[in-house]
């Protein structure tokens, strides 16, 4: 049994007077202890909503959550808020995108660290402070004693993200969710933060979900990857397998869009995926990626595409596509849908 089992997760935003929005639909994945799983997608693909649903952090009004989220044998989706508050911060912790706004500006670093220790580990103030100092040291913050008394605005962006990570790992959670933890940081700091996360997962043996739009982050950090598009997973594979054999046209397009330093023709125009995430089709009608897909055929709009298994039972590689890349069928003029 995996540490985290997400089965058929769906999140629907409902508002009176307008059509319900299926932000996440039928998402299933596993995270094992000590494993890092990447969830990749562009803005609006549902990756952040997935992580908030796992945390139970979605607002109760106007949101419907379906499916199951099992963490270490406990079902989270039907827990009440009181029970969830015991789980959050203790068993599952989260690192957010923007360390500038995710820390409370008027509370000291020390307070923001110790409060989670006092709440879940039942430490007294003095013990919590000593532990907080150790945590800051562990995430690579020099002079931790002084930093404990400082406020977020006195720290750089990278330092603040280290503090966020220290807060997240404070109670030794079984699962760590990192929602674009490096997006708001500059490149050199990004690499340091990713190194830190890799080390912490290896040392503690916790599972990690890495939410990102950056395939480079996935390549360096994750064991498995799930690519999301318009609220559904469109391709899942081991990281190496995915990079070696991208099969969904969307994944393939993403990989081709990465500029390469060893490009043979440095003046060549960078590959892009045409259109934007707004050019979409409801999954009930067909493949949501169809309007942007160069491989689309008429059948792509005949109902929701099923998952096709391109891997083996031991090394699965499911793809939600009728004409996956590499599975070459001769293109006939007539069956291009657009």
């Amino acid at each position: 049994m995996s540490l985290l089992e997400v089965r058929d997760l769906s999140v629907t935003f409902t508002r009176s007077g307008s059509e319900p929005v299926h932000a996440v639909d039928g998402v299933s994945f596993d995270v094992a202890a000590g494993q890092s799983v990447g969830i990749v997608g562009e803005s609006g693909s549902g990756k952040s909503v997935t992580s908030l649903a796992v945390m139970g952090l979605l607002p109760s009004r106007g949101v419907r959550v379906g499916g199951t989220v099992m963490l270490d044998g406990n079902e989270l989706t039907d827990m009440d808020q009181r029970a969830l508050r015991d789980v959050r911060g203790r068993d599952v912790a989260m690192i957010f995108q923007d360390p500038m706004t995710s820390l409370n500006p008027v509370v000291t670093i020390g307070r923001q660290l110790t409060e989670v220790l006092i709440r879940h580990a039942g430490l007294a103030k003095g013990a919590a402070k000593a532990e907080a100092e150790q945590l800051l040291r562990r995430v690579g913050i020099p002079d931790p004693v002084r930093r404990l008394g400082e406020y977020p605005h006195q720290l750089s962006g990278g330092m603040r993200q280290r503090v966020m990570i220290a807060i997240a790992i404070a109670c030794r959670p079984k699962l760590l969710i990192a929602d674009e933890p490096t997006t708001a940081l500059d490149v050199t700091i990004q690499a340091q933060i990713l190194d830190l996360l890799r080390t912490l997962v290896a040392e503690s043996g916790c599972g990690m979900i890495m939410i990102t739009h950056d395939l480079g982050v996935v390549a360096g950090l994750c064991d498995d990857v799930h690519v999301m598009y318009s609220g559904r997973i469109v391709e899942s594979a081991g990281t190496k397998d995915l990079f070696a054999r991208p099969s969904h046209p969307y994944t393939d397009g993403l990989l081709q869009s990465i500029p390469r330093i060893d490009d043979e023709d440095p003046d060549a125009v960078l590959h892009t995926i045409p259109g934007s995430a707004r050019d979409t089709v409801a999954w009930e009608r067909g493949c949501a990626f169809q309007p942007r897909c160069s491989r689309a055929v008429a059948e792509c709009l005949a109902g929701p595409p099923a998952m096709a298994e391109l891997g083996t039972p031991l090394v699965p590689h499911p793809v939600r596509c009728l004409r996956p890349v590499g599975d070459d069928v001769v293109l006939h003029e007539g069956n291009v849908a657009r």
């Binding site: 995710s102 820390l103 509370v107």
Partner: protein, 334 residues
């Protein structure tokens, strides 16, 4: 910290200088002078001239101004034309009453306004929220004198629950070493006198608190609505903190910042509103004396009182800024 205070106090000098010029010109621009007010409409020109020369009003304006300024720096504002007593003495006698009234009104506004604003934000869109929003709109729009008369009519005249006017029961014997009647009762061990003073304070304080209360409700509500959507509140929830901790440490501490500023500004409204409130409730404070002073064209009184109120206003806002610095480390002065 000390430099900040010194700088703010130094800023008082140009403010007060400018204010004194404006004030001096303004009171003299009022139609009819103090002599006219003192002697009535059938006074002879000779009598008026005699009074004016006695008061020094026949000399050139710039000379009058310099004389006023020279005395004012020594806190001597001359004698009141109404009572003949030195204005400074009148002030010392009346300020405690106004401060007591303003503080009581502020206490009501803060103690009711902040919880109500918080509640309205957390119950956003429900009947509680609607009630708070409509109620506060009513609060800022109802004129103080109207509200004051209504309160007096309902609670003092019709129901008879509270006294109609004054600061204390005239039949009661009490000493007033500080001039703050509620405090005096406690100091002299005469708790009945304190209770009596509180009863006399309730209606005027309620009337006076209406505007600051409404403003504080609105600002608190808006501020809390803003803060609960901040990323750091989501972080606090992701930590699994208890709702009480999140409210106190992460929501309120941030949401109170704009409220603090507004409280400082409302003190100006309180001092202005005190004039009307004191008049309705015959509450013998600065406001009432100044209102009478205006009718009597009592130049020294008007000038002295307004200058002192300006000083109080600036000092209070300086204190608010200092408190703000305590609450928000980002603006803390080093």
């Amino acid at each position: 910290m000390l430099r900040f205070i010194v700088r703010r106090l130094a800023l008082l000098v140009p403010i007060l200088l400018g204010l004194s010029v404006l004030l001096f010109a303004w009171v003299r621009a009022l139609p009819g002078g103090p002599a006219y007010a003192l002697l009535g409409e059938r006074a002879t020109p000779e009598a008026i001239a005699a009074i004016e020369s006695q008061l020094g009003l026949d000399r050139p304006l710039w000379e009058q101004y310099l004389q006023f300024l020279g005395r004012a720096v020594r806190l001597d504002f001359g004698a009141s034309i109404q009572t003949g007593q030195p204005v400074t003495e009148e002030m010392l006698r009346r300020f405690p009453a106004t401060i007591e009234l303003a503080l009581a009104a502020l206490l009501i506004a803060v103690a009711v306004g902040i919880p109500l604003g918080y509640l309205a934000a957390r119950r956003y869109g429900t009947w509680i929220d609607n009630l708070a929003v409509t109620g506060s709109l009513l609060g800022v729009t109802i004129p103080i004198f109207f509200l004051a008369y209504m309160l007096k009519y309902v609670f003092a005249v019709e129901l008879g629950w509270l006294p109609t006017a004054g600061r204390a029961d005239p039949r009661a014997r009490a000493d007033h070493p500080t001039g703050f009647y509620v405090l005096d009762g406690i100091v002299t061990g005469n708790l009945d006198a304190s209770w009596d003073a509180i009863q006399h304070l309730i209606l005027p304080a309620l009337a006076l608190s209406s505007i600051p209360l409404a403003v504080i409700v609105r600002i608190t509500r808006a501020s809390v609505l803003n803060v609960v959507n901040e990323d750091y509140v989501r972080t606090a929830e992701a930590k699994g903190l208890l709702p009480g901790t999140i409210t106190r440490r992460h929501v309120l501490k941030n949401a109170m910042l704009p409220v603090t500023t507004v409280i400082g500004l409302q003190l100006g409204v309180l001092l202005a509103g005190a004039v009307l409130t004191e008049k309705v409730f015959a509450f013998s404070g600065v406001g009432q004396f100044m209102a009478d002073g205006l009718v009597q064209r009592d130049f020294p009184t008007i000038q002295g009182f307004i200058l002192v109120i300006a000083i109080v206003y600036v000092v209070i806002n300086m204190i608010v800024d200092l408190v703000y610095g305590l609450l928000d480390p980002r603006v803390r002065v080093s």
